[in-house]
């Protein structure tokens, strides 16, 4: 343990935020597209 | 016992990863013993249900006047015994390849007993599941290995302390951890086994 101060490190912050929100956004978008497809199929079933 | 040969081969291959470095081998003996035993357990556990799957005997067993719970404990105890014997069978191989100090042999066997029990209870439960589907060789280790991490940590730590020296007397605490794991999972897995094999 250096006992000092960590200088800078913004690239790590961006990486963490970027990966987190990117993955969550990708999952959300994929979910929403699947829901839309299913909802359309459900509407067609009821005709 | 093909399983012991498999475990011995695993110990041999693992020693190659270290090389002819006597000190390092002695340090790692405890850890490698349990890794080899863990790998061997997937074979042994899968075997324990092979008769049922090959001859569709699972339905037949269920017709017997025993509860699924009793069936679980019968199989789990048998698996425990088998794993314990495999572990003890691996000790001579360990001595030859890794040159550990076996002064505390009885306690080492005790840890082998506790650790094998920890592998056997959830292992029997998951083997019951895996034996009923096609991808059983992948499924059993996939489910079992993350679950038995505490068993592995405790058994490796305890074995290493027994083989290398335990100046602060910590083995007992690790043994207690193993006992706790067994105390939780032997009842739990028995309870849940019924849900796993009912048709």
């Amino acid at each position: 343990m250096t006992g000092g101060v960590v200088i800078g490190g913004w690239e790590y912050v961006w990486a963490a935020y970027g990966i987190t929100f990117g993955a969550l956004a990708a999952y959300g978008v994929s979910l929403w597209m699947r829901v839309r497809k299913e909802a359309r199929a459900a509407r067609e079933e009821q005709g | 016992m093909a399983v012991v040969v498999f475990g011995a081969t695993a110990l041999l291959l693992l020693s190659f990863a270290v090389g002819p470095n006597a000190t390092a081998l002695r340090q790692l003996a405890g850890g490698f013993l349990w890794v080899a035993l863990l790998f061997s357990s997937t074979l042994a556990l899968a075997e324990s249900f092979r008769a049922e799957t090959e001859q569709k005997a699972l339905e037949g067993l269920l017709l017997l006047p025993t509860t699924p719970v009793a069936l679980f404990y019968a199989k789990a105890l048998a698996n425990w015994l088998q794993l314990l014997l495999v572990g003890m069978g691996l000790l001579p191989v360990l001595v030859i390849l890794y040159d550990p100090d076996l002064a505390r042999l009885p306690e080492i066997c005790g840890i082998l007993a506790l650790g094998s029990a920890g592998l056997s209870a959830p292992g029997t439960l998951y083997a019951g599941m895996a034996s009923q589907v096609r991808a059983q060789q992948v499924l059993l280790p996939l489910l079992l290995f993350p679950l038995v991490v505490p068993v592995l940590l405790a058994a490796v730590k305890a074995s290493s302390l027994l083989l290398l020296g335990d100046p602060m007397g910590q083995v007992g605490s690790w043994a207690l951890l193993l006992l706790t794991f067994n105390g939780i999972f032997w009842p739990l897995c028995g309870l849940l086994f019924g849900a796993v094999i009912e048709e």
């Binding site: 000092g4 101060v5 960590v6 200088i7 800078g8 490190g9 913004w10 790590y12 912050v13 990486a15 963490a16 935020y17 990966i19 987190t20 929100f21 993955a23 969550l24 999952y27 959300g28 979910l31 929403w32 699947r34 829901v35 299913e38 909802a39 459900a42 079933e45 009821q46 | 959830p122 439960l125 998951y126 599941m129 009923q132 589907v133 096609r134 991808a135 992948v138 499924l139 996939l142 489910l143 290995f145 993350p146 679950l147 991490v149 505490p150 940590l153 405790a154 730590k157 910590q170 605490s173 951890l177 706790t180 794991f181 939780i184 999972f185 739990l188 897995c189 849940l192 849900a195 796993v196």
Partner: protein, 254 residues
């Protein structure tokens, strides 16, 4: 038996889920803005500490999602119904995603702080083990074709894995304490509480929104699997025929 009835997903589910997600996006935008640009840097860790504003909310919600999975598994075993299997599947998937992100964030945090990508912190190591365990259950669901077995076995696996969490945590913590103790800082400056809370609620709303969408999808897929619509011209397998004959169609499935 509850499994005779086909699942009937609530048609309003997706809309509520989407609304929650929209609120979540707003909250996360505000919270992250404050955390990244307004909150003061921490004394020793500097800017890297700002990772906490996503890391801690992810941790809380990962644990919450897996606890939800555990509850769904329990409910399913006591009162079987396809609704709870669908919710279990959703909670497992969302929990696994959050746990995975937790490990990635923890790794990114560890590198500038400790100089290594992994510092065997007990909480993070437990998360990694649990990630493996619950991923295994998701894999189990793909390998099992019979829906009833799949549901029952996932419930069993989830209960066993969840029961293991405290044991894994204590064993890793103890195993690690024999070396140096390196843990993520707990104390939070008062100026940092606000963005943390906003983001925590943001991720919570996001998680619940995801759960609602995903379990709606799971219920739809289950309904189709259990009683495929007759318009499909392909001949049903013997498994589907036997399943269909043991099921009674529930209510307004079509």
């Amino acid at each position: 038996m509850g499994l005779d009835l086909l699942p009937r997903p609530n048609p309003r589910g997706p809309r509520i889920g989407l609304a929650l997600i929209a609120i979540a996006v707003v909250l996360l935008a505000i919270g992250s803005y404050i955390g990244l640009f307004r909150a003061p840097p921490e004394h020793y860790m500097g800017e890297v500490q700002r990772i906490m504003y996503v890391h801690v909310p992810t941790a809380w919600n990962a644990m919450l999602a897996l606890t939800v999975a555990f509850v769904c598994a329990l409910v399913f075993l006591f009162k079987p119904s396809w609704k709870w299997d669908a919710r279990l599947e959703a909670a497992l998937e969302v929990g696994v995603i959050l746990a995975f992100l937790l490990c990635v964030q923890g790794s990114i945090w560890a590198k500038p702080t400790w100089g290594v990508w992994w510092d065997w912190d007990p909480r993070l190591t437990t998360t990694a083990v649990m990630l493996a365990a619950f991923l295994g259950i998701l894999a189990l669901r793909r390998f099992v074709e019979d829906p009833i077995k799949r549901a029952t076995w996932s419930a069993v696996g989830t209960i066993v894995a969840f029961a293991d969490v405290p044991i894994v945590y204590f064993s890793v913590r103890w195993w690690n304490s024999l070396h140096q103790t390196q843990s993520t800082p707990e104390t939070v400056d008062s100026a940092m509480v606000l963005p943390l809370r906003i983001n925590a609620f943001g991720v919570l709303f996001l998680m619940v929104g995801f759960l609602m969408l995903r379990s709606w999808l799971a219920q739809r897929r289950l309904a189709q699997e259990l009683a495929p619509p007759p318009e499909t011209s392909r001949p049903s397998t013997s498994e589907e025929r036997s399943l269909a004959s043991t099921l009674e169609l529930g209510g307004d499935a079509r």
